[in-house]
């Protein structure tokens, strides 16, 4: 049995999500329940062996089993009140097999030897039934068993162990900071996720993992009632693969920018950001409307991450390239024939984009993926040339490879694992350069911060992005705030216009907490690191209208 509810977003003010509503998986439980330990690893190993043996005895040539306990705590507030606190737990087993060269999958919440054996039998029966209409057998890249291992998100403060009262206090202090600085309205939210997952396969792997993620965010609204105008400013936090320590607001992790802006690296000061947000939302009410035309863009990491996600992350997913997502998310312009030339210029020489499942503090980081492959790092774009894709065990043979990239993921025990985006990040420049250095070299430009409106076509050629804050740059200086800004570009032209990178001291990660893909849709969380980066001659449109 399984349950998946959705908290409707209308009125909750959660901006910039990649799915339209927030999925709540599992059953509502008390906060204390989230602190109870899961089943002992030794028992999970016994249960996993029941699944693997049952599958093999019924004719599976490969089997893997995931015993998963998925915990969520979500808090929602507006102004001076708590709107909702959601504590949820989901526990069960997913079994995936290959029989007669075909995949079969089944899941159950009956986590007993009997329930698991029945579930394994169902998975094999489905594989055998589907094999009748399958024309090509699955080719699974080999993966040596890793034995009994474990991995945990490195953290210093388990967010689930922090009292709910402290979290509410933080959100209400955040709201107060916004209201005291001129906000008309404010909503703030805190999302915490813990995946306790045990994976075993017939390759001889028994992997126990404890994965944590956190996302504090808010939306501040400033209203000019007389003029009938309103403007919002969302938090400049990033969702992280961290514990509650992300909310310590360490001064050492702040990067000062022009016009009093603050960039946050691996520690976030939510109250400070909310106070700033209120002032900036008010400033937006009277900001100058942009003149459409070509501008050099200076893009902050908290903005550029989403552009990387949409224009590099998704087009290099191999399942999209092959057509498996054609009916929903779409296919990709980054086709195999372009990749095979070994000279397809995705971007300028400066563009080096890596995929990884290892970077500290990020959403994609794990010890092993959901089919037992150890976490890796690999190049997608090297010196501007497309060199690789994101592939999992049953895809890598198509690329002539023999080793999975290790980016297989399922959002719950009852979802079948498939290829999901790893962290995809732009490497910082090797020359010493700060944001102020970069702005000094721009004659006519716009400095864009934060994630705003985003839209891209189904093959990832044409995109349009907005932002949270736009500053006009004239002759090397920031001269004031702009409004009604969005830029439109073609992916390949855009990345080839990449002209300058800040250095590693400016490098920060952006994250997408609820990225949707597949039918039925599954979510995943992924980070995108980058330094502030300059793109020359990008087309900017004016989005102001009158109704």
């Amino acid at each position: 049995m399984n349950r998946r509810n959705f908290i409707n977003l209308s009125g909750l003010g959660v901006g910039g999500l990649l799915v339209g509503s927030i999925p709540v998986m599992g059953h509502a439980v008390s906060p204390d329940r989230l602190l109870e330990p899961g089943v002992d690893t030794a028992i999970k190993k016994q249960l996993a062996d029941v699944a693997l043996n049952a599958a093999k005895s019924r004719g599976a040539t490969y089997a893997d089993v995931r015993i998963g306990r998925y915990l969520q705590q979500f808090l929602f507030t507006r102004e001076k009140q708590v709107q909702n606190i959601s504590n949820a737990e989901s526990y069960g087993v997913g079994i995936r097999v290959i029989a007669n060269g075909t995949w079969g999958f089944s899941a159950t919440s009956d986590v007993t030897p009997d329930g698991i054996a029945k579930c394994a039998a169902t998975a094999v029966a489905i594989a055998k039934a589907n094999a009748k209409i399958q024309t090509e057998p699955v080719v699974l890249a080999p993966q040596k068993g890793v034995g009994e291992v474990s991995w945990k998100t490195p953290l210093t403060k388990n967010a689930f162990q922090m009292p709910v009262k402290d979290k509410i206090d933080l959100l209400l202090r955040t709201n107060n900071a916004a209201l005291e600085n001129g906000a008309g309205f404010v909503t703030s939210n805190l999302f915490m996720i813990n995946e306790q997952k045990y994976f075993a396969s017939t390759d001889g792997s028994y992997i126990d993992q404890d994965v944590h993620r956190i996302w504090p965010t808010f939306t501040v609204t400033a209203v000019d009632r007389a003029a009938g105008k309103f403007k919002t400013r969302d938090a400049l936090s990033s969702p992280m693969g961290m514990g509650y320590e992300y909310l310590d607001g360490l001064a050492s992790e702040k990067i000062p920018g022009p016009n009093g802006l603050v960039g946050y690296r691996n520690s976030y000061d939510m109250v400070e950001d909310a106070a700033l947000a209120a002032k900036q939302a008010k400033e937006k009410l009277t900001a100058k409307t942009v003149s459409a035309g070509k501008y050099d863009l200076v893009l902050d990491p908290n903005h550029l991450g989403l552009t990387i996600h949409e224009s590099v992350g998704h087009p290099t997913e191999l399942d999209r390239v092959l057509g498996y997502e054609a009916n929903y998310a779409g296919t990709s312009f980054a086709t195999l024939d372009k990749w095979k030339t070994k000279s397809f210029k995705y971007g300028s020489e400066l563009v080096n984009i890596v995929a990884d499942k290892k970077q500290p503090y990020t959403l994609g980081t794990v010890g092993y993926d959901d089919e037992g492959v150890p976490a890796k790092e690999w190049d997608l774009i090297k010196n501007g040339v497309l060199v690789n894709y994101q592939a999992i065990r049953d895809q890598v043979a198509i690329l002539g490879g023999t080793e999975s990239n290790g980016c297989c993921y399922a959002d719950n025990w009852d979802s079948v694992q498939f290829q999901r985006m790893p962290n995809v990040s732009l490497k910082p420049g090797t020359e010493k350069r700060s944001v102020l250095d970069m702005i000094k070299g721009v004659d006519k430009g716009i400095y864009i911060i934060g994630r705003g409106s985003y839209s891209i076509d189904q093959q990832r050629y044409n995109f349009q992005f907005g932002g949270q804050l736009f500053y006009e740059i004239k002759n090397g200086e920031v001269v004031g705030m702009l409004d009604d800004v969005a830029y439109q570009a073609n992916t390949q032209e855009f990345w080839n216009s990449c002209a300058q990178l800040c250095d590693k001291d400016d490098y920060r990660t952006f994250g997408s907490f609820f990225d949707g893909k597949g039918q039925p849709s599954q979510i995943s969380a992924v980070s995108h690191g980058s330094p502030t980066t300059r793109f020359n001659g990008v087309n900017v449109i004016n989005t102001g209208r009158k109704i």
Binding site: N2, G228, E325, N327, G330, T335, D457, N462, Q464, T543
Partner: protein, 445 residues
Amino acid sequence: MATILTEAEARALLQKVLNYSKADECEVNLSGDISGNIRYARNEVSTSGAKTNQNLVVQSAYGKKVGTATIDEFDDASLEKVVRRSEELAKLAPENPEYVGILGPQTYLKSNGYFASTANLTPDARAAAVAKSLELTRAANLTGAGFMEDSHGYQAMMNSKGLFAYYPSTNVNFSLTVRTADGKGSGYVARGYSDVSKLDTAAATRIAMQKAAASASAKALEPGKYTVILEPTAAAVLMENVFFNMDARSADEGRSFLSKPGGKTKLGEKLMDPRVTIYSDPTNPDLPASPWAGDGQAQKKITWIDKGVVTNMFYSRYWAQKQGKTPVPFPNNAIMAGGTASLEDMIKGTQRGILVTKLWYIRPVDPQTLLYTGLTRDGTFYIENGKIKHAVKNFRFNESPVIMLNNLEVLGKPERVVSTESQGNYLIPPMKIREFTFSSLSDAV
């Protein structure tokens, strides 16, 4: 216990749960549904699955302190436990100043949204429906990628003031993208029904195949303002953003497209062409919906936009009480009235224009003006002198449905469509719009 309970079984179970309650107020929601799906791509079945959900939600309140707990086990001990847990959580919760208490008994309209044909659909029947589609695309050397998902279930609620509600429903959604072997043409179709016997996957497949083949040699047109005919599937993704944003509280707070300078709202004002009428009606036989809202309020036929004038917004019970208004629940369906013209008639009557099959990746750009961006996809054609001349490359648009519905030329006959963004089902007419803003070209097929 069966997953799908009859009205009598649901009533008995809910009464049993309420008998355990010691709180000031208690409300119990019960639901069960069974769904199945089959997915295919590259002309092969890729995944298939079935899910069973069953859920009981207990909300207990002491004054304005509210707690909620959930369970999927239904023995007596579990039922009592979930009630106790909701009471414990309520006692620990801060006061919710917006809690307005539970409703007493209500009277509901009759709406038939449950069809045995859909409820009895087997995995074999699902596979057979998809096989009909695959046979056609394989034979024509076209590539099909599709998804079919059906569900049947019920929702029920009861509270300590004597309110009881029960509604069973069924639904099936089918969508298909057909691409040419060279990847230069793509066509789309989507169908949604309560009654699966209305679903003809072969007929739907032929439409997507025709669009794929016809769109293979697309020519580029300059971006700019064009007369467009939006097929209902394309119009739905813009129209639903009008429905979603009809909230009175946001308008009263000055942060909605329905807010006005000086702090007032646009209620009672003409906002769109006088031919635009948008309403909700749970009893519509082509789009049946539950006659009660999640909090137990009765859903009635209600008009949101009447001949271009804003006539209603939704008011939560809290906001209505605060503003001295009658509560209006968020509706369970949305219908746009239309005319009698068929899509073919509308094409015949067009001198120069663009026929749009589908709009994709719709995102808000400015909530103040309800400006949205997105792209055309899977079948975009140039019309000249009443005929489709050739396919055109896809465009990005930046347009507000409010501006669009002031530039209305013709409304056709409404049909049931599935939103490609929210998966919601609506009744929407095809619409001919002048000066629709395409702001750039896309190379995507």
